[in-house]
Homo-oligomer: 133 residues x 2
């Protein structure tokens, strides 16, 4: 079990956009180069983020992707869910009469992790980075 590379790219892209924050959109090519992915593939990932309402795309010359106004409130979990989907880690495949206790344990563990990811926003991370620089 691992997070997909797509999630990796999505997180890095969001961080990049949040750190750069010019109001001008940033082209896919530039970001793809930086992360060593093909532009078309990255674009596909970013489309998911657009649909999730985190960023917006601008067509045409000087087009690209740009954070939406509400970006300060976006958490890690939001991004991860946008890419990986919101399905839970575990599905008990067996139907024993009562609720599956194994599933309860695993899901509550998952909830612990999600809680942590929900409390981390991109904007906080950017602040920390700027202190370091």
């Amino acid at each position: 079990m691992k997070y997909s590379k797509a999630t990796n790219y999505a997180l890095h892209t969001m961080l990049f956009l949040a750190a750069a924050t010019p109001n001008k959109p940033v082209g896919v090519q530039q970001m793809a180069e930086q992360q060593e992915v093909s532009p078309t593939y990255l674009s596909k990932i970013l489309t998911k983020l657009v649909k999730a309402g985190m960023i917006e795309s601008a067509s045409g010359a000087n087009g690209g992707y740009r954070l939406k106004r509400n970006w300060e409130t976006i958490s890690f979990l939001d991004i991860i869910h946008a890419i990986e989907g919101t399905a839970s880690l575990f599905d008990c495949s067996l139907d024993h009469g009562t609720e599956c206790m194994i599933m309860q344990v695993v899901l509550s563990a998952e909830e612990k992790m999600e809680e942590h990811l929900r409390n981390q926003t991109m904007s906080e991370l950017v602040k920390k980075m700027k202190i370091v620089l």
Copy 2:
């Protein structure tokens, strides 16, 4: 990102063995039937648990799998690690000079989850079940 079905089977099998606890080994066939998996596949999964030192196998007639003596201390995390491996959820694919802050956040979230799974033992779960029954 999801836990594999193999993990699912492994957890259920361990719980079953812990709940049954006859000193006689239990055959794969019986457990495979219960979980609706093919015996050979389940056997392959159980081999991993054997290698991890959680259960032991007995060949021959009346053979099967049996918990080892230390089973009371086995946690959910031990079982999951035995099946899924111990690699972490996230690997930053990009080499920015400093440590990747994204990775730090995700890994500390993962740690929260693992902590929870480490504190849940099969034997505790069995106790709870017995109260319910």
